[in-house]
Amino acid sequence: MAAKTLTIDGKQLSAEEGATVLQAAAEAGVKIPTLCHLEGLHDIGACRLCLVEVAGGPKLLPACTTLITEGMEVTTASERLKNYRRLTLELLFAERNHVCAVCVANGHCELQTLAGQQGLDHVRYDYCFPPWEVDATHRLFGMDHDRCILCQRCVRVCWDIEGAGTKHVSGRGGKAKIISDLDDDWGDSETCTACGKCVQACPTGALYHRGSTVGEMVRDRSKLEFLVNAREKKLWSV
């Protein structure tokens, strides 16, 4: 494939045609914040944290779904973008009940880490405090909707990699919810294979291993990459 040259944050670089801005940036060592992106899953451009400025166009574009073009000039961390990222994170914290201090993922949470990196020290919007519940019916895993940011990584991993189609999104807007089967108790699911990939994919403390307590829920993302490489490229490199 042909290579394209482009500039990201002033850095000249070249990347293969068909690469996304996010991939090209990663190769060049430029880290763009993401939440819904996960290596091995198809991108949906939902979290809007990876939005970047591209010279010549007024619109901000998601780095995860935008393909590179020849001569493209990308800015990933202007003051404007940083501000938008902070606001977006604030919205997420206010939306559900993210109580970091007592969360299983405390210290290992992508949302928490991003907030720290973006210098978010408080949330100016009124918290919504919605009454979400915890599904602790599965013998191995739990789902705490309070911590869910609807990134759909669990849904995509369940459909794209495991292929079971257990998880999906129900409802819409602020009432959207990750479900198992017909919004059944997860423990009653007839399709769930208990593979645990969704738990590995979750960026926050929404999906967890039962029995893990505050700060204990550490994920192994490399397993997903390993699986995708094994399935698609027939390469088994642990």
Partner: protein, 551 residues
């Protein structure tokens, strides 16, 4: 017949229709507005009265589409005189027959030459209220399907495309993208399978133009779609219509069935190699499905959530195939453009906005209903001359265009010509054509809250700025209305508007703040009035320079 339709057949149907034409035609509006006031009862009673009077050789009682002045329904218009009876009831209907014989009638009438009608320029609505939308023969009698025939037999797809480009037609769904350019992109996109979709998911509250077109002249849309399919090389079409429009759905079903029966849809249309299949898809109540990528997801039987563009539908749409999506009114413009030529169409309207636009006039205005005017008509002409101004001595305060994605244009800008660019300059949009008039009694912050609630409920929930941002904006507006907000809250609201506009995934989110932005622009005082002093706010700069140090 099926598949063997020729010019001669078309001519024959037309002649038969014209020959059967009776001296007097009583046209009964059977569009949804009048139907809700028992227009069917009126029609039945009229038919009975005609039979009783033994006039059935001279008088035809015809169910037609929208007669436009919805506020005065049920409407009956009597040809050839053109007398327009208003507020007809089944009880009062027989006196129309009496009036035909010259008797006095107590029925109210309205002047069919009043400004509301006289200033209209009907292209899309040319057949609305004139022909029976449930009979394909009636459409053929007004030269229906002749444009398709001409295209298939005389023109190659390229020249059809060229005609549309030259006409200057722009998308009537809201954004005003040049239709010819869109068609050209789809035509050029590689792929053996292509689709044409008609977006009839008219979701803007306060808009009923597309409903009226579908109810009044469904074949025009079918013909427009077939021509489009021919031009871009598609063989399958879908009409995505909202479930809230049962009458439009029924008439479309009838129209499709009739067109298939006559071989005007299907394979080998007009003995050409062109074939075009058309299916109806019924929406299920989701505003976001008006967004094209969400609409396609819905046609595929999925949750109607949008996806990032590019790739655009023209390159990769339905099931990954190149797909042309236009709205109802856009397709309805196609047959007249092909019949009368691109230059004729380009001669109507303004430099950059060609042709006419249909608007649904509603709200605090005397004459509510459907109007079609040349692009560039001043708003004042529409609301004051045609609409008759605010009722009950009220004063017009603002005109809302573009639904939840649009804005409120204040009364002092009423001289603005209605075209894509002028409305955008004023922070509103043309939108699909809903036009809601507001008078003195309307509180603009409440209007903003109303639209924000709409967007909040209709957000699909996929992207964060729209899903969570609309909730916070709505919360802030409620706070302002409850007189609990401070200037800091208003600043937060404005900041959120900016965020949601620029970072949302699809058009719904990107335009959701518009009603707030536009009311803030023109009616800021109404917001300020509701704000509370902020005793615990940040210290004035002098008391603690720079911000928050202690020395």
């Amino acid at each position: 017949m099926g598949g063997l339709m020729t010019l001669a057949d078309l001519q024959q149907i037309k002649e038969r229709e014209l020959a059967a034409q009776k001296k007097i035609v009583l046209r009964c509006c059977l569009a949804a507005g009048c139907c809700s006031s028992d227009a069917h009862g009126v029609k039945e009673r009229l038919e009975k009265a005609v039979a009783e009077a033994g006039l059935h050789h001279d008088v035809e009682v015809r169910g037609v589409g929208c007669l436009k002045l919805c506020c005065a329904g049920p409407l009956v218009q009597a040809d050839p005189a053109g007398t327009l009876y208003t507020h007809v009831t089944p009880e009062s209907a027989p006196s129309i027959i009496a009036a035909l014989r010259g008797d006095q009638t107590a029925l109210t009438q309205t002047d069919p030459n009043a400004a509301f009608f006289a200033l209209q320029h009907s292209i899309v609505l040319a057949h609305s209220g004139r022909i029976d939308p449930e009979r394909i023969e009636a459409y053929i009698a007004v030269d229906g399907y002749a444009a398709l025939l001409n295209a298939l037999t005389e023109l190659d797809p390229k020249s059809v495309l060229e005609t549309v480009v030259r006409s200057g037609l722009r998308g009537r769904g809201g954004a005003g993208f040049p239709t010819g350019l869109k068609w050209g992109t789809v035509a050029k996109s590689p792929g053996a399978k292509k689709y044409v979709i008609c977006n009839a998911d008219e979701g803007d509250p306060g808009a009923f133009m597309d409903r009226s077109v579908l109810e009044s002249d469904p074949h025009a849309v079918l013909e427009g779609m077939a021509i489009a399919a021919y031009a871009v090389g598609a063989d399958q079409g879908f009409i995505y219509v909202r479930a809230e429009y049962p009458l439009a759905i029924a008439r479309l079903q009838t129209a499709i069935k009739q067109a298939k029966r006559l071989g005007l849809l299907g394979s080998g249309i007009f003995e050409s190699p062109f074939h075009f299949n058309l299916d109806l898809r019924i929406g299920a109540g989701a505003f976001v499905c008006g967004e094209e990528t969400a609409l396609m997801a819905s046609v595929e039987g999925q949750r109607g959530t949008p996806r990032p563009r590019p790739p655009f539908p023209a390159a990769s749409g339905l099931w990954g195939c190149p797909t042309l999506i236009n709205n109802v009114e856009t397709f309805a413009n196609i047959p007249p453009i092909l019949r009368h030529g691109a230059d004729w169409f380009a001669g109507i309207g303004t430099l950059r906005s060609k042709g006419t636009k249909v608007f649904a006039l509603a709200g605090k205005i005397k004459n509510t209903g459907l109007i079609e005017v040349p692009m560039g008509t001043p708003l004042r002409t529409i609301v004051e001359e045609m609409g008759g101004g605010a009722p009950d001595g009220g004063r017009i305060k603002a005109v809302q265009t573009g639904g939840p994605s649009g804005g409120c244009i204040p009364a002092h800008h009423l001289d603005t010509p209605v075209d894509y660019e002028s409305l955008t300059t004023l922070g509103s949009i043309m939108g699909s054509g809903g036009m809601i008039v507001m008078d003195d009694s309307t509180r603009m912050v409440d209007v903003a809250r109303f639209f924000m609630e709409f967007c909040m409920d209709e957000s699909c929930g996929k992207c964060i700025p729209c899903r969570a941002g609309t909730v916070q904006m709505h919360h802030l507006l409620e706070k302002i209305l409850a007189r609990r907000a401070t200037a800091r809250d208003l600043a937060k609201l404005e900041e959120l508007c900016d965020l949601v506009q620029h970072t949302s995934l699809c058009g719904l989110g990107q335009t959701a703040p518009n009603p707030v932005v536009s009311t803030l622009r023109f009616f800021r005082a109404e917001y300020d009035e509701l704000l509370q002093p902020d005793p615990h706010g940040p210290r004035p700069a002098a008391a603690s320079a720079p911000g928050a140090t202690v020395s």
